[in-house]
C-alpha cells in the first residue's frame, strides 16, 4: 500500500555542469517500505542523483521534497541512513573502534549538551546485533575485512532508526560470500523492519528476485516497476545486453 506522502518526491530534476547535461528531467516518487535498486553505466549520473537527494549537490532546476518538505527546509536527517560508495575504504590509521563508528549514528538525534543516554546505548547495541557484529564492537575498524566494514557502516546508518537506507555501490571491495550475506540482510531489513531501501548496484542478476522496482539512470531515468521482467525493459537490455541474461540465468541456476 502506498502512503500519501512519499519519502522522496522528485520532479523534473536537471543537472548541468559546464554545459554538459548530467541528469535530464528526472521525476519519481519513493514510498515507505519500498525496495529499489538503481543501475546504470559509469558516468550515467547515479551517484549524482543520490547526492542531490541528500542535499550534497544542488540541481540546476527541478524540485526535491523529502517527507513532504522542500529539501532546504528538511531538518530530520536522522530519518535517512546513508552509506557512501567509499564506505569500506576506511583509513586504517583512523582511531575508531566499531562501537565509536556506530555511535556516530546517534549524534544527529541528540542535543549538543546531551550525553549518551540509555536509549542511545540500546540503539547502538541493537544496530550491532542486527548486523551480527556485536562481538566486534571493541575492534579497531581498520583491522576488519571489507565485508565486516560494510556491516559496520550499515550499523552506523541504522543506529539513528532511519526510515530509509540509501547505499551507493556498497559492495565495493567486498568478497562474494559477504555480498550474498549483504543482500539477505538488506531484504530482511526491508521486510522485517519496514526500512525503505534505495541502493546503487551493478549486480542486476543477483538482486532481481528481491527488489520491488528498478531505476535505470543514464542521464534520463527509466523505471521498471516489475523487475522480474526487467530483462524485457528496453533500457536494461540496452545497458547490459547479453550480460544481463547471463547474470540472471546464472543466479537461477544456483
Amino acid at each position: 500500500m502506498k502512503f500519501k506522502v512519499p519519502i522522496f518526491d522528485v520532479k523534473n530534476l536537471n543537472f548541468i555542469v559546464r554545459g554538459q547535461k548530467i541528469l535530464s528531467d528526472i521525476s519519481f516518487e519513493i514510498f515507505e517500505g519500498e525496495y529499489i535498486a538503481i543501475i546504470g553505466p559509469n558516468g550515467g549520473g547515479k551517484t549524482t542523483l543520490i547526492r542531490m537527494l541528500l542535499g550534497l549537490e544542488q540541481p540546476t532546476s527541478g524540485e526535491i521534497k523529502i517527507f513532504g518538505k522542500k529539501l532546504k527546509n528538511f531538518k530530520e536527517w536522522y530519518k535517512i541512513g546513508y552509506v557512501p560508495q567509499r564506505a569500506t575504504l576506511v583509513d586504517e590509521n583512523f582511531p575508531a573502534t566499531v562501537e565509536d563508528i556506530v555511535k556516530m549514528g546517534r549524534i544527529a538525534k541528540r542535543g549538543i549538551l546531551a550525553g549518551i543516554s540509555s536509549e542511545d546505548k540500546a540503539m547502538v547495541e541493537d544496530a550491532l546485533a542486527k548486523m551480527d557484529i556485536l562481538d566486534l564492537k571493541d575492534k579497531m575498524v581498520g583491522t576488519l575485512s571489507g565485508g565486516q566494514r560494510q556491516r559496520v557502516m550499515i550499523a552506523r546508518a541504522l543506529a539513528s532508526s532511519p526510515k530509509i537506507l540509501i547505499l551507493d555501490e556498497p559492495n565495493t571491495g567486498v568478497d562474494m560470500v559477504s555480498q550474498q550475506r549483504f543482500y539477505t540482510l538488506l531484504a530482511k531489513l526491508n521486510k522485517e523492519d519496514n526500512i525503505t531501501i534505495l541502493f546503487i548496484t551493478h549486480d542486476i542478476g543477483v538482486i532481481a528476485d528481491d527488489i520491488g522496482r528498478l531505476f535505470t539512470i543514464n542521464q534520463k531515468a527509466t523505471i521498471c516497476n516489475d523487475p522480474k521482467k526487467m530483462l524485457s525493459c528496453e533500457e536494461v537490455s540496452e545497458l547490459y545486453g547479453i550480460d544481463a541474461h547471463a547474470l540472471h540465468h546464472h543466479k537461477h541456476e544456483h
Binding site: Y78, P95, T97, E99, I101, M104, A108, M140
Partner: protein, 265 residues
C-alpha cells in the same frame, strides 16, 4: 629540580605551558584527523603578523595575534569553499605571505630585536601575569567548545559528507574549529613560539595514533605526551638557557620516534 619553581617567571611559564599542552593536544586531534596539519603552521605564521603589528604599534601582541589568526582562518575556509583551489596550495600561499608581511612590518617599524625572537621560538622568561590570565580564561572557553562539540567534530573528521547528511552543521563547525585553533595558536606563541607551535599541535596526536586505540584513548595518550614534553622541554630550557619552544618540540619528537619504534608492524 624543584628549585626552578622558586622563581615567579617559572611558575608563570609552567601554568601557561601546561595549559597550552592541554589545548594544543586536544585541538591537534581534530586538526590531524581532518588532514589540517599544515593549517596550524599557517595560522601560526599569520599570528606572527599580529605580533609584528602589536610590537610596532605598541598594542598587546597576544590580542592582535588572536585577531589576525582568526581572520586568516576564516580567509582559508572561505578560499577553500568559494574557489576550486588545492587546500594545501592555499595554506602554502597564506603561510609564506604572512611571513613576508610580518617581516616587512617589523623591518619598517624597527622592531627586529630580542622581543620578536622570543615570539618566534618561545621564551619562558617572557610570560607575564597578564599572559597567564589571558591564556587561562580564553583557553578555558576554547577548551569548553572543543569538548562540547567533540563528538560532532570527530564525526566530521571521520567523514564530512556522511556527517552532513546526518544533519550536522558541518560548515558552521568547520569555521568554529579553525577559529578556536587560531585562538589556541595565538595564545601559545609566548611559550612555544609561532614557528614551533604547529609541532606541539600535530606531533602528540601522530605519536598517539601509532598505538592504534579508539578515539578517546588516542586523545588521552596525546594529552599525556604533550604535558610530558612541555614539562621536560621547559625544564631543559631553564637549565640550559635554551628557547623553550625548541626544547619542547624536540622532546615531543623523541616521544614520536619511540612510539614509532615500539609500535612498528
Amino acid at each position: 629540580m624543584f628549585e626552578m619553581f622558586e622563581y615567579d617567571f617559572m611558575q608563570r611559564a609552567f601554568v601557561a605551558g601546561l595549559f597550552i599542552a592541554v589545548l594544543a593536544s586536544i585541538s591537534g586531534n581534530f586538526i590531524v584527523l581532518r588532514r589540517y596539519s599544515l593549517m596550524s603552521e599557517t595560522l601560526a605564521h599569520s599570528a606572527l603578523v599580529g605580533v609584528a603589528v602589536g610590537l610596532v604599534a605598541g598594542y598587546n601582541p597576544l590580542w592582535v595575534a588572536v585577531g589576525v589568526a582568526i581572520g586568516a582562518a576564516w580567509l582559508i575556509e572561505y578560499l577553500r569553499s568559494a574557489f576550486s583551489l588545492y587546500s594545501d596550495a592555499i595554506l602554502a600561499i597564506i603561510l609564506s605571505g604572512s611571513l613576508a608581511v610580518a617581516v616587512i612590518i617589523v623591518s619598517l617599524g624597527g622592531a627586529f630585536n630580542n622581543s620578536l625572537f622570543s615570539y618566534l621560538f618561545g621564551s619562558i622568561l617572557s610570560v607575564t601575569n597578564e599572559d597567564v590570565i589571558t591564556i587561562v580564561i580564553v583557553g578555558s572557553i576554547s577548551l569548553l567548545f572543543l569538548l562540547l562539540f567533540s563528538k560532532e567534530l570527530y564525526f566530521i573528521a571521520y567523514d564530512e559528507e556522511v556527517a552532513q547528511t546526518s544533519g550536522i552543521k558541518v560548515k558552521f563547525l568547520n569555521f568554529l574549529l579553525v577559529s578556536v585553533v587560531a585562538i589556541i595558536i595565538a595564545l601559545s606563541i609566548r611559550v612555544v613560539g609561532s614557528l614551533l607551535i604547529g609541532a606541539l599541535m600535530v606531533i602528540p596526536t601522530v605519536a598517539a595514533l601509532q598505538y592504534r586505540v579508539g578515539f578517546r584513548n588516542t586523545m588521552l595518550i596525546s594529552l599525556f605526551f604533550a604535558l610530558f614534553s612541555v614539562i621536560f622541554g621547559m625544564s631543559l630550557s631553564y637549565y640550559y638557557s635554551l628557547p623553550s619552544g625548541a626544547t619542547i618540540v624536540l622532546s615531543i619528537i623523541v616521544i614520536f620516534i619511540i612510539s614509532l619504534i615500539i609500535n612498528k608492524k
